[in-house]
Symmetry: C2
DNA sequence: AAGTTACGTCAGTCTTGTTGACATTCCAAG
DNA sequence: CTTGGAATGTCAACAAGACTGACGTAACTT
């Protein structure tokens, strides 16, 4: 409320023992801006490909996670993407209509739809993924292995708890 | 094109000298997912505040950078935010109408509009920023100082070149 | 048989982005 | 002084992608 609220929430001087990180507002703001600008770069390359094909980021996300968790159900995908079923359905309908995604009725529970990429879907997913990985690989190489470890640690700590669990549960389908 | 395209773009075995980072697709995919999930967390707290006040992320971004670069022109803000003037104008008009932002005609060049936060604008900016910094601070503390340095390095390497220059040019207005 | 779950869909709204067209204002160059 | 171009603002139309609410159907559970 007062003009010094941005100063008041600073920690006191670092204590003697294990140092509490002393983080200025300025350092934190630079981190916030870095996230903002980096995310733009992160999505730029796939966005260009998607625009050519009249798809959007929403389609990319669906393709990514269907590839990552083949046979996943609609509800599960919903939970991971954090959108409503109406929103996801619009995207899935398009992907199914254009033959990129296949929806199979569940064997044990016939209410469920299990989602898989078709060969065409897998091809597009790979194209998008390669563009995004190329930038990620370049950034990782430029920064070095220790930086990469730190990068991953901070990102993980920034996630909501629930999401972090889902993140950890993701495994390489080709593993 | 073939099924092994995802393997073909791997680097060869690490050379003898300074090791080229060996990065598997799986490692890169986890990084991509970490960015995706972390960005959701990154925006979650301010989003909740904004929703209460019937503002959106676009308003937050404008407030953030006007605070960061007081007196900046509309064109400059446009370049940083990477949107069209029509899109930004809608947001700015609302912020000005509600007394959060002031638009001053340039002294030397009267075509330019120099943007400043009003006290009310500064208060909201601080509220949003504090929510976002709290999460960032917690993540930084959890990960530790070395991780933070790595985090920043990787994010910087991920930006487009032009944007990275603008990022470096940002200075604390309270310097 | 009744209730719940999973999914799909229709209809309507909102934010935030886009283009295109056009007006205004003003600086600067001829 | 006139003209061209730059910076800004505004109107209109549109689209993607998110949302809520309501409803229907099929299938599983109790």
């Amino acid at each position: 409320m007062t003009d010094r609220s941005s100063l008041r929430d600073q920690p006191p001087a670092p204590s003697g023992g294990e140092a509490l990180l002393f983080l200025t507002d300025e350092q934190l703001r630079k981190g916030i801006e870095a996230m903002f600008f980096a995310y733009r770069g992160f999505t730029a390359d796939p966005d260009r490909i998607l625009a050519e094909l009249d798809y959007g980021r929403a389609h990319h996300r669906a393709l990514h996670f269907i590839n990552r968790m083949p046979g996943t159900t609609v509800s599960n995908l919903l939970a991971i993407l954090g959108v409503t079923k109406q929103s996801l359905n619009r995207v899935l309908r398009a992907l199914i209509a254009e033959g990129l995604v296949e929806s199979r009725i569940g064997r044990t529970d016939r209410r469920e739809r299990h989602l898989h990429l078709t060969p065409a879907g897998a091809t597009l997913e790979r194209r998008l993924s390669q563009a995004q990985r190329a930038r990620m690989r370049a950034a990782y190489r430029a920064a070095g292995p220790d930086a990469v470890a730190g990068f991953r640690q901070v990102l993980e700590a920034m996630m909501d708890d629930e999401i972090r669990h889902q993140y950890h549960a993701l495994r390489d389908p080709r593993g």
